[in-house]
Amino acid sequence: MGQVPSTPFVVWIWRGITVRLPGTWEMLQFSTDYTRGRCAFADRYQYRFELSWSIVKGEPDYDRMVGDYMGKLEREKAGSDLVRLRHAGWHGFTGTVSGTPTTRLGRYLPALGCLVEGVFLWTDRRDEALEHQVIASMAASPPDTRGHQRWRAAGLDLNVPGVAALEGCTLQPAKASFSFSNPKTGTTWQFERLGMVPNWFTGDLPAWLTHHLGTGLHDLRLTTTTRSGHAVVLAEASFKPRALHLRRGHLAANAWIEPADGRLYAVTVRRRGQHPAEAAAPGDLLAAAPDFTPRWTP
């Protein structure tokens, strides 16, 4: 008891920002906003790290920005022992803020057009080695050669077409889901990762996928194939969107149980046309990221 699970570091990619954090730090708060947002990560006892982003017009005057903020904290008597930091292009300070040892570093990432900030909340004192390791990993994750954007969080490793916008995200115990859509074409992408599988899964993956896809489908075809040594169920169907004037669309879905973490993964794409930027098969869009699931030591 009391042993931490043996997951050393995990790469998170959120809103185009990559950060490598200790495996025991989990994301408890997140923002789906594109222009400005924040994610908060906690170990088992308290919040440990915050990642925030904000679209800005260009590289800020770091000296003024950091100086103003430190001055504000000192005026409000919220900060003490504040020391300026410059580390590999990151600007900020360390000290005690509201009674908590804190390091705050920010940097403009031109690839994203964003000011990105990392805030460390230390438990007793600053861990410089960890701080450097995390800060060195913080970078922009630009689209790949196909123009796909990568998201990596809560056990899901997504490669979503660049035209897709994040519509929603749900992170609950044993259930993580992301939904994307292209407002111009109406195409939607849905990704899910479900846990505690032995407690609810009857063992029939095609039947589960059929139920999961819901009603309103025509010509549903299910096939089972093997990928990386495990069974994957593929589904294809056509569907009629609710609005009368909309043409019939095409649905493609994949589902499998990942042997490495025992979780059920599912991806569903509902296309409403033939757009080259949306042509990737579901199997190319989602990969399991079992490193998010701890290996509990006996």
Binding site: Q46, V97, G106, P173, A174, D261
Partner: protein, 124 residues
């Protein structure tokens, strides 16, 4: 720096994790023959308005019974007055291959419900 809102102390849930849940000593646990399911009989409190001669007509049940599902059954076993909430969360996480916080949210939701129903008492 980006405005970070009002400065405030960092939230911690350490106290909650160090709490110990004690089973209500008056609860009667009845297991099914293969010991896979447990029914808990929690004594009910007589409502204040039930005074003679009303008690001659209305007889409230002495117990309220709860049939625990497998998850709650595990919690009933693990919350033995010795394990801290943190240890219970870890046992649950190990059994279901969850992360600590996935397990924490599930376990504390269950435990809140069981405390509300008089199955457990909390010692902090």
């Amino acid at each position: 720096m980006m405005p970070a809102g009002p400065s405030r102390p960092v939230a911690t849930w350490r106290d909650m994790l160090t709490a110990v849940l004690h089973p209500n000593l008056k609860v009667i646990a009845e297991w099914n023959p293969d010991r896979t399911r447990v029914t808990l009989k929690v004594p009910t409190k007589k409502p204040d308005y039930l005074i003679p001669p009303l008690t001659l007509i209305i007889r409230p049940p002495a117990y309220r019974s709860f049939v625990l599902d497998p998850v709650a059954t595990d919690l009933w076993i693990w919350c033995d007055g010795k394990n801290r909430v943190e240890q219970v969360i870890e046992l649950f996480a190990r059994k279901h291959n969850l992360t600590f916080h996935e397990s924490r949210v599930s376990v504390t939701t269950y435990l809140k419900e069981l405390v509300k129903r008089g199955v457990f008492a909390v010692a902090i």
